[in-house]
Assembly symmetry: C2
Homo-oligomer: 105 residues x 2
C-alpha cells in the first residue's frame, strides 16, 4: 500500500536493512512494531517491502514523534534484538519531506 | 544493498508504487533507468525492494540533480510508460536527509 500522507512538510524515516539467517521472533516482532508505531502520536503511515534488501519508510508529523517512537520501551528491545540477531546491517535516515506528487488510476 | 551515502545533508527521492499486470518492457526499462540514473551528476546511490508494494529510494546531492534526472529524456519516456502501462498508482516524495545512523556486523 501507498501511505496516505498529508500535504508536506512532514517527516520520513527510511530504514534499510539486510537480514541475517536468524528468524526467531522476527516476523511477530516486526508486525507488533508496525502495530505499536501506528498507535504513536504523530504517526502518519508507513510502507514496507523486502527482497534481498528490506526498506521500511515510516512517516511522522515532526521530529519529536520520531524521537518518542525511537525511545518507546518495546521498540528499544526490538532494536537491540535487531542488532544482536536479525540484521547484519541497517541504516536509518531521518528526512524532511519537502514535496510530493503522485498518480493513481 | 544499503547505499553508501555521504554525511548528511543530502536528498532522498522515495518512489513508492503499485504495479499493474502489464509487464511488457518493464524490467528492462527499470534496469536501464537504474543504469542511467547512476550516470547522472549528483547521484549518490539507490536502494530498491518490491513485494506487493515497490519502494525505490534514490539519493542525490541536491535538488538540481533531482530535477535534471526527472527531466532526462529517456526517463521522461519511462515515466509516461509508467503512468500508461506499468503502474496503477505511485507516489514520489522529495526529502532532505537531515541525519542518518546505522549498524554493520
Amino acid at each position: 500500500m501507498i501511505a496516505k500522507t498529508p500535504k508536506p512538510p512532514y517527516y520520513a524515516v527510511i530504514f534499510t536493512s539486510l537480514r541475517s539467517d536468524q528468524a526467531e521472533n522476527y516476523l511477530e516482532t516486526a508486525l507488533e512494531m508496525e502495530r505499536l508505531a501506528a498507535l504513536q502520536k504523530g504517526y502518519l503511515g508507513h510502507e514496507t517491502a523486502r527482497e534481498d534488501t528490506g526498506i521500511t519508510v515510516s512517516y511522522w508529523q515532526d521530529l519529536e514523534s520520531i524521537k518518542n517512537w525511537k525511545n518507546q520501551s518495546d521498540h528499544l528491545i526490538a532494536q537491540k534484538m535487531g542488532r544482536e540477531a536479525w540484521y547484519t546491517a541497517y541504516k536509518t535516515r531521518i528526512c524532511l519531506v519537502e514535496r510530493d506528487y503522485g498518480f493513481e488510476l
